[in-house]
Symmetry: D3
Subunit: 143 residues, 6 copies
């Protein structure tokens, strides 16, 4: 027996939103976003759809805030929420993809210590360490 997710509502333009969102998702998150969507396919394809069609296709694509600025807000939120390390990993990659420098990201997470306290700033910084290490961006240790 397998679950049968609730059938999607009669589509009116789900496809258009989804296409627009997928384009934005790919530009911003790269492979990381697509991997999340894929991993939802067997459990909650509608959640995957909404991440793409709503979060990216309705909100991210709006011209009112630059992609780089959206990631600054997002890094702040994910650090503050706590327990969102998988999403932080995706969005630290995204932040680099849309033009934030590694130094700006590190500085944003230092700034987070003022508002979220040291533990959450540390947790987020260690996620950045993992991402920067994978992308060859870690500073050389002082000899």
């Amino acid at each position: 027996m397998s679950i049968e997710n609730t059938p999607a509502l009669p589509a009116h333009s789900r496809e258009a939103s989804f296409e627009r969102g997928m384009e934005a998702l790919t530009a911003i998150d790269g492979a990381g976003g697509q991997k999340v969507i894929d991993s939802l396919a067997v459990i909650s394809p509608e959640l995957g759809h909404q991440v793409v069609a709503w979060a990216f296709g309705e909100i991210y694509v709006r011209p009112g805030l630059a992609p780089r600025d959206r990631q600054l807000v997002t890094l702040g939120m994910l650090t503050a929420l706590g327990g969102c390390e998988p999403q932080l990993e995706v969005h630290i990659n995204a932040a680099l993809n849309v033009g934030l420098t590694a130094d700006e990201i590190v500085e944003a997470l230092l700034h987070a210590a003022v508002y979220c306290g040291m533990p959450k700033a540390l947790n987020a910084t260690f996620v950045a360490k993992k991402v920067f290490s994978e992308r060859g961006l870690l500073r050389a240790q002082a000899a």
Copy 2:
């Protein structure tokens, strides 16, 4: 040297509450609940006792809310709290045990995106994926 937990208060009916709670815990959580209690035995048997005797023996057993409804509230709380993946695993199993369908659980976690945001909805959905996978409930991937 080993710790010696504070001796229990003079019992007046700890046993009765505990027995009633253990019955409820077993009916709702199955093996998952008992495993948590067992793993507390060497560190905080009193916390184990209170989970059984108070949470289950005093609150869960009250007739004012159906077991199925209690799990809906619980799934909402655990998703919102964040960082409670071990408890979500126990309670997604519990939700299935008391009559929620896999589809209703998936839909409840999609609903959670509206109130808790996408990251927490995703974290909870991936816990559901693990539980459904272990219980053979995952939908077949579209070919």
Copy 3:
């Protein structure tokens, strides 16, 4: 000088989603929901639109979870999040509107003490007290 919110994206079916959502919002939240949307008009009409067209028009209307069950999950989330007393007020009203009894709501908030602790359970219960008082549902105090 007044702010000029980012113009909406080229509509493809914003109206259809909005209409469907407004119908659901009215049925579930009654006047409370409409008041929130109205109060957003001068600051963030797009947020008002998304509450209606996405939260209600895309998620709430899905048949996979009964309206009553959605409110149980929602009460759990809002209690756990903390600081969401205005939304709790709307949704305790909504819960009554879709068929939960006052007693079931009180019991759900007692159940919340197990998972969120006493302070959040108390905060939510005092919101319920305000709503029930306005609707004439408070129990008569024992003489």
Copy 4:
């Protein structure tokens, strides 16, 4: 029509726990605790009962941690949770009642800035300001 809360479970020793808890509650929280219980009477007497009989009658009375130490832990938790200002007010009073000095409380909330960030430390400190003001404990402002 008024709500009729779920009848209490067949009592086995609810009274004994309640009496013991009420004694502890009065000693620790003074009038503040009783006022919370009273205000629950018309909405959720069972929540009031559990605060007294369980939180105070089962946990607080345990000899394993001094009353003063319990309030230090409690101040930390309430500051970190956020949105629990009413409970902080009760427990800053309680902390003074069980022997913490005003200076120790202020210092504990300064310490909280390290772990919870400045906003939550500020929120808690302003609650302490209100309590200390009511009890005539505010330092004279430098002339």
Copy 5:
């Protein structure tokens, strides 16, 4: 009797950090920041000192992230934390002071709905409404 806060540690350069921080605080927060410091004088002057000398004098003044970018991160964090409406009020003013437009702020809080959920996005947007109203920045309502 009045509390006597723990005497400050032997100063080594508290004054220098404080002066630098006060300059930054005034430039960024305007009157709002000073008011918070003043209101701490009778309860926790050291917390006031640390907000100025550490948060502003050590972190904010670092050149690694533009003031405007620091406010974007800060708005994200305060929205996500919840229960920080007083700080949001200060920082929405600050955001305007350092060059974010009202529209960018509104868009950032709409973006927050994706990551923090609707209730926290709504709470933050209503704080923005209050600030914009005080500064004459609200859009004229459609006639």
Copy 6:
């Protein structure tokens, strides 16, 4: 290419604060604290500096609250925040180092159930179990 963190501000007495903080950190956290600082060296040495020079060199060293009392507050905060298991591990060790007994720690985490709910109390207790196990402090299981 490697990141080059923002150069430190013109030092005025960073060294003095750092030295004082490192002494405190070593006395309280033992090896655990130093390990965290070391692991920050290649990603955010300034965050490492601020943990030592500010959190320990400015706040922890203040005489207004005993080291033992600071850990009680800290255990409360870390349990309530959630998702801070790495920091809890450091601070349960620290609590033992500054004179709290294993039993007092276990009792503080039981007390946490009242204010944070069972899931967070359980998460923290399982971190204590790991630490006590490493330090040979677990109670012998009843035969």
